[in-house]
Symmetry: C2
Subunit: 219 residues, 2 copies
């Protein structure tokens, strides 16, 4: 039986982009279904009744939810090509730790750079740069978080880059000025076709965000 | 070389108890080091500089942090005995999903049953029971979340039970009255020596909590 793979997703979602990169790395063909998050499809509500969130990977009719779990699932099912997690248990634990760190620390602080203003925004910018500096420290002199090869941590972090134009424009800062090593890593990632094709243009994300900022009374 | 295993922990921590149960299931001998969270040891700060939190498993000098990651590490390193995660990729993804659900939804709502009062406490109680009902639905008629065998989800959820006396006393409710199937599952888990030995007495947890509640101005 051929694999039937469907992805419920929303184009600017960094969590959805992770899954798109993972599927591209593995060469898995799939049907992409764009969700309207203001009017969620019956399929999304049926496939992710607990969180009702994208992305959802539906593999032969069975749903997998939450992007780090989906990416690990993809790596375990399509295991013969382009390994994403390291094979050594300690290195696997370290990779999981840094993806967990990104989810716990980077999402909130980066989001607040464009959803808040004044003191709250200043605090968010400070935290965002602390997160980036911590990640730069972890990267060290390696080309990728996965070492010589692009891997699970790289794939989980690079989708945030398509939001950087938004963070920088709304927060009035330059990531490259503060964290040049981080941006050098971004450029290495963007040389991969799987990454370059999956990341939407930063200005398109900003246009989308501008509507939300107007609705939030920030513009 | 014999494995040198050290656990930095704090006795009432549900996250630490997970690791204690996992090590007991695998029959791994280890040195337990109790942390004073008001005066964290240099070893803890050195081994978990990012989060500075327990539990930390130190295996042959190398730290692993965050309880779901530690438990998966233990399962991958000591893989010949008592498998904790299912071997099938889809079942593994499902197990990871439910542990993630517990961490995202159960901890906050359960904690607020004893750290808040009034409307905020009522909202926390409502959410806590929604979480328990969702978990009961997932358990269904199986003896364990892992099916016939005690596994990763069971191990990650059962440590909360030693806090139930606190939740029930502070929140003035009975879990057994509302969720009898959940409590029947608790009793099955407690029949395991690994679980019974790892869970502190609920009244001892409550005594510890009472001091904190006094400090919070709730008693």
């Amino acid at each position: 039986m051929a694999d039937e793979v469907v992805l419920l997703d929303f184009w600017p979602s960094m969590f959805g982009i992770r899954v798109r990169i993972a599927l591209a790395e593995k060469g898995v063909k799939y049907e992409y279904k764009e969700e309207d998050l203001k009017n969620k499809s019956p399929l999304l509500l049926q496939m992710n009744p607990v969180h009702k969130k994208i992305p959802v990977l539906i593999h032969n009719g069975r749903p997998v939810c939450e992007s780090p779990i989906i990416v690990q699932y993809i790596d375990e099912v399509w295991k013969d090509k382009a390994p994403l997690l390291p094979s050594d248990p300690y290195q696997r634990a370290q990779a999981r730790f840094w993806v967990d760190f990104i989810d716990k620390k980077m999402y909130d602080s980066s989001r607040k750079t464009w959803t808040t203003k004044g003191e709250e925004q200043e605090a968010a910018k400070k935290e965002f740069f602390e997160v980036l500096k911590t990640l730069e420290g972890q990267l060290g002199d390696k080309p990728f978080f996965g070492g010589d090869n692009f891997g699970y941590v790289d794939l989980s972090l690079i989708p945030f880059y398509c939001w950087f134009y938004t963070y920088e424009t709304c927060g009035k800062f330059s990531v490259e000025a503060e964290c040049p090593k981080f941006i050098a890593w971004v450029k290495r990632c963007l040389q991969r076709e799987t990454v370059a094709k999956a990341l939407p243009d930063g200005k398109k994300v900003f246009e989308f965000v501008s509507v939300m900022r107007t609705n939030l009374g920030l513009e």
